[in-house]
Point group: C2
Chain length 215, copies 2
Amino acid sequence: MFNKEYVFEEILPFFKNLNEEEKNELISKSSVTKYEKGEIVHSKNSTCTGLLLTLSGNFRVFISAPSGRQITLFKLYDRDVCMLSASCAFANLTYDVNLEAQTKAEAIIIDSSLLKKLASSNFQVMNYLLNLTQDKLSEVMYVLEQATFFSLDERITNYLLEQSRFLDSSILYITHESIANELGSSREVISRILKRFEKDGKIHVSRGKIEIINL
Amino acid sequence: MFNKEYVFEEILPFFKNLNEEEKNELISKSSVTKYEKGEIVHSKNSTCTGLLLTLSGNFRVFISAPSGRQITLFKLYDRDVCMLSASCAFANLTYDVNLEAQTKAEAIIIDSSLLKKLASSNFQVMNYLLNLTQDKLSEVMYVLEQATFFSLDERITNYLLEQSRFLDSSILYITHESIANELGSSREVISRILKRFEKDGKIHVSRGKIEIINL
């Protein structure tokens, strides 16, 4: 079982600046939630979820089209924080995103209205939220750059190499669908390019598995 | 000639909360600058420019690739504010953008280090910057959505219709190059699609001019 106070002290730089009452409110108005692999934590159709602090597992933040197509904005790993799931608390966050657990995972959710209240009365909280938002703005501009200026060939190559480095393995257990959702493309297009990569001797493709040969 | 104090009172919601010393510093550490059409105000290679407050004319904020390709993030009109040109003052704004005057234009530039100083001591300034950043994050996510999920045909159509509404005219004096830079594409691709639109009777294309017939 996680001790919330300990986690807050570790992850939230403003926690030590809160007074006792605020600390207690933060502890009482937050909840530890467990998620199954693939579970949607927050969607653009949800009511307000709240600020997410990850405790274990990985999460993916993405935008989606009515057609079902998706593109990943960023991932969350252990001890990451996501404020986009608390967008209802901020009038200027008008674009809503989706958040899903990519593995079995656990997170603390902090109530949005409490977050808003703390931000409006506490300089450190406001400063922290500004840093978080600037950070995410930079990441989203990077995703836009990649999606706009790089060919899908290059982006698939980079994605596979990144995954390989991250998992320290040349064998990746991923579906063509998940690559499509990562990069904002369709399964058919990804499959066609992977087939060409295989023909060129760069990878070996089998069901749910891609082996990197010479990318 | 613009009276800076008057402009600050009008545009910056935090100005009235500054003390006299801060107000005077803001007035003395800001400068009114004139720009010619097409002039680069800030680029990702510039040293720090500062917070931009537009006085007249239009500006375009965009990202660019080494290949020269560009995509517009948003436009600035009269009495708009852009903090991305003050990114040097904020450690978490790691992605730098370009800013150009689209018409003859005028703006007030506020010194970045003063902005940082005011933000770090004044809650209202910090709050204002959080709102600005959240606003821009929402806009950039919208651009990413458009660029990822919509076909170039749809995006060109929307762009021409928007311009037509904005200028209240069915005749647009724009080059294929400028449409390409707007949408993150290349001139060749844009020209090909416009030619097809013309063949389909949707528009009439001539040098530097597009007439909307039936889009």
